[in-house]
């Protein structure tokens, strides 16, 4: 993933060093090739296809489906996300800060209420818990977006009208041209072996 994927502006409008690696292949009209897209109609077909692409050794590629598919991590061969560790650290730190906040405030502004001690830890438990949960929830959502490179309101894939069906009932495999194994002929042959409905080249435009 290039840095450009995280930025909220179309890639073509970025200065060259941020644009990510360019490719040596061009379309008929001279546009650099961004990748090759194959479409499937059934879940098992997609799973077989991603297994084939994984076994062929591609690294810069992705698959798309209208819903999360059980066990696709193994089929695509990527490792589990590190997101939970970050969330855990953030949540526990937030809870600790929440406790310190209450402890400091109650010592700074001591109020006599029914003769109870000012800085006993027990009454601080509920608010500590709630602050921990609140920050955990925000970290989860923001962390998920950041790891996914979202928000990104543009992508070369959306040039393809077929790709809009990825949100409905079609499945796609997309191999990016920046992959070192990418070759228009060989990649097309590999994808053709997986019985797709359609294969097309996507240009580097967004």
């Amino acid at each position: 993933m290039a840095l450009a994927d995280y930025l909220p502006i179309p890639t073509s409008k970025l200065p060259a060093p941020l644009r990510g690696p360019s490719t040596k292949f061009v379309l008929e009209d001279g546009t650099p090739v961004h990748g090759m897209l194959a479409q499937y109609s059934k879940t098992p077909d997609l799973v077989h296809a991603v297994e084939a692409v994984r076994d062929a050794g591609y690294k810069v590629w992705d698959s798309f489906s209208p819903f999360p598919i059980h066990g696709i991590e193994e089929s695509m061969g990527f490792s589990r996300t590190k997101l939970p560790y970050i969330i855990g650290v953030a949540g526990l730190s937030a809870a600790a800060m929440g406790f310190l906040l209450q402890w400091w405030i109650s010592g700074d502004y001591p109020m006599v209420v029914q003769g109870k001690p000012f800085t006993a830890w027990q009454p601080f438990v509920p608010v500590t818990f709630e602050i921990g949960i609140l920050i955990t929830a925000f970290t989860t959502l923001i962390g998920m977006f950041a790891f996914n490179g979202l928000p990104r309101h543009h992508h070369p894939l959306y040039q393809s009208e077929r790709f809009l069906s990825s949100s409905d009932d079609k499945f796609f495999v997309y191999i990016e041209a920046t992959d070192e194994r990418f070759d228009p002929e060989a990649t097309r042959k590999l994808l053709e072996k997986t019985h797709p409905d359609h294969i097309e080249l996507i240009g580097q435009r967004d």
Binding site: T43, F64, F67, I72, M144
Partner: protein, 545 residues
């Protein structure tokens, strides 16, 4: 369709018995949704729908013209909300004296309504979080609308504690904001815990709801985008509604593009949100109950309150889900294929279970009041609540509130022991209505009957609501219904991605020998399965692809 597992027949024959003819329920629509056999899964989507048909049905609610009843219903709700808003303005301008509060009963309808609404707000998170952790796939039919309901109910709930402080311009003092007077809130007060619990709950529920809707916003965006492209390609003009949809849904979709690498992190994040929402939902109503339990008022000072309040919240919340979704199921096209009778039956069972828990809590509070040998506490339960004033000279003038609560919350759900009652949507709806009424009375009984008689008879005062009390409460129903009707029209009311993920077509390794005739939607091929089920109504026939 009579559904019987082949093994059962074999066992019966081996035992030398004639197989007992299974009595189909009179409400069984014959689509396999009411299978009782634990070896078979009831289909979650009926009519042998394809993935595309699910998209068409769900997006259809947001894209097609609203049904005829929608606009009048919205106008009535919005007018009611307007009346409620006027009452709140009147209260703020005049002061809390416009409510029927007195020196003794200083919390009444305001806090009753607050606890009532926040309780209703618990079903959504329960369905999305706890049922998600327990892998209850049937939750996909109701989770989106229940989560929406949660947020709208918490919105209504939040109004009351804010306005009951009287001088609302000082409400900022509940937050630890540094100020010139160096005054800080008291973190040892349950009322402050409540501020943090409810605001955290509202925020996390909204995040959870939004995260679930993200892929569905992307679906709506892509459909609008496709129509715009087709219009441009055929030389037509861009339609304004589709342009607005592509932009607005597009902005909210944040560029979601259904990548499986994204889905992986999304699912991990969703599971974590479900994991933290589960203790959150349990903590919120526990903390609400601390508002009472941590005080020393007889009738409030009981350790059973946290679990009792949580069970009551789930009970009331599910009742509200049923109250809203049963009419929606009748009124919106194809709703029944996604929200089947089995879903209704499951929720009726949850009403029965939580109703029994609440009933147990009522009995146990009473028992402890007697067993604890605290005469004041026993007096509250016996003579402020249970014994009518026409039976005993110091009996309860609020006896009818107590017995309404018992009838609605404990007696009425008992009909769900019978399968016929669980499967009759009319009976389920009536019980849900009774439970909603009963849960309001529960909070009224706890708050008003405990407060209205002080330690000395000179402190005994009845509470009578004023018209402002009543119209404010009615107004919050208007706010709730307005928001819910807007939700039904403009947002994806079913989680499309989640429904598709539990459909048979989503199985990456389908078993080829599976018999499609067992249930309408089990087979891999929807056309083959459709033959066994009743002919499905076309999703939206006139719309081509």
């Amino acid at each position: 369709m009579s559904v019987e597992h082949p093994d059962q027949r074999t066992v019966e024959q081996l035992l030398g018995r004639e197989p007992e003819s299974s009595q189909p329920s009179p409400h069984d629509p014959g689509d396999g949704s009411l299978i009782d056999d634990p070896a078979l899964d009831a289909p979650l989507v009926l009519g042998g729908r394809s993935l595309h048909e699910v998209t068409e049905i769900v997006c259809g609610y947001a894209e097609r013209p609203a049904p005829k009843w929608w606009l009048p219903a919205l106008l009535v709700s919005a007018a009611t909300a307007g009346v409620g808003t006027m009452m709140i303005l009147y209260l703020i301008i005049t002061g809390v004296g416009v409510w029927g509060l007195n020196n003794q009963v200083n919390w009444a309808w305001d806090i009753t309504n607050f606890v009532f609404w926040i309780g209703i707000g618990h079903a959504g998170t329960l369905i999305s979080a706890i049922l998600c952790l327990f892998k209850q796939k049937w939750r996909t039919a109701v989770n989106r609308s229940a989560e929406a309901m949660t947020i709208f109910a918490v919105t209504c709930a939040g109004i009351f504690p804010a306005i009951h402080v009287g001088r609302i311009w000082f409400i900022w003092m509940v937050f630890p904001i540094p100020n010139a007077n160096a005054i800080w809130p008291n973190f040892r007060s349950p009322l402050l815990w409540d501020v943090f619990a409810v605001s955290t709950y509202a925020t996390v529920s909204a995040l959870f709801w939004y995260m679930g809707m993200l892929p569905d916003f992307a679906t709506l965006r892509d459909r609008a985008d496709r129509r715009l492209r087709r219009a441009l390609a055929s030389g037509g003009a861009r339609s304004l509604p589709d342009t607005l949809r592509a932009y607005i849904y597009g902005v909210f979709a944040l560029g979601w593009r259904f990548s499986n690498r994204h889905w992986h992190r999304y699912e991990v994040a969703y599971l974590i949100l479900a994991g933290i929402s589960t203790p959150l939902v349990l903590s919120v109503h526990s903390i609400v109950s601390f508002d009472f339990a941590v005080s020393v008022v007889p009738g409030w000072h009981t350790t059973i309150f946290p679990p009792y309040f949580v069970a009551g919240a789930i009970f009331g919340g599910f009742a509200m889900v049923l109250l809203l979704l049963i009419p929606a199921r009748e009124l919106l096209p194809n709703f029944k294929d996604l929200l089947t009778l089995r879903h209704i039956e499951n929720m009726a069972k949850i009403l029965l279970v939580t109703g029994m828990m609440v009933g147990f809590a009522y009995a146990m509070e009473f028992f402890i009041a007697w067993y604890g040998a605290n005469e004041f506490e026993f007096y509250v339960f016996m003579f402020n609540r249970a014994v009518p004033d026409w039976l005993h000279e110091s009996g309860a003038p609020y006896w009818w509130a107590y017995w309404t609560m018992i009838f609605c919350n404990v007696v009425s759900p008992q009909v769900f022991w019978f399968r016929r009652c669980r499967q009759d949507v009319r009976i389920v709806w009536v019980v849900a209505l009774l439970v909603t009424i009963g849960m309001w009375f529960e909070r009224f009984v706890i708050i008003v009957t405990s407060l209205h008689r002080g330690w000395m008879p000179a402190q005994w005062h009845m509470f009578y609501p004023t018209i402002v009390d009543i119209l404010t409460f009615v107004g919050t129903f208007g706010i709730f219904m307005t928001l819910f009707l807007l939700f039904l029209k403009f947002l994806p009311i079913f989680p499309m991605a989640e429904i598709k993920a539990v459909m048979p077509q989503a199985d990456p390794h389908p078993e080829p020998e599976e018999a499609p005739a067992v249930s309408g939607a089990r087979g891999d091929d929807p056309e083959a399965a459709g033959g066994a089920a009743p002919a499905p109504a076309p999703a939206h026939p006139e719309e081509g692809r």
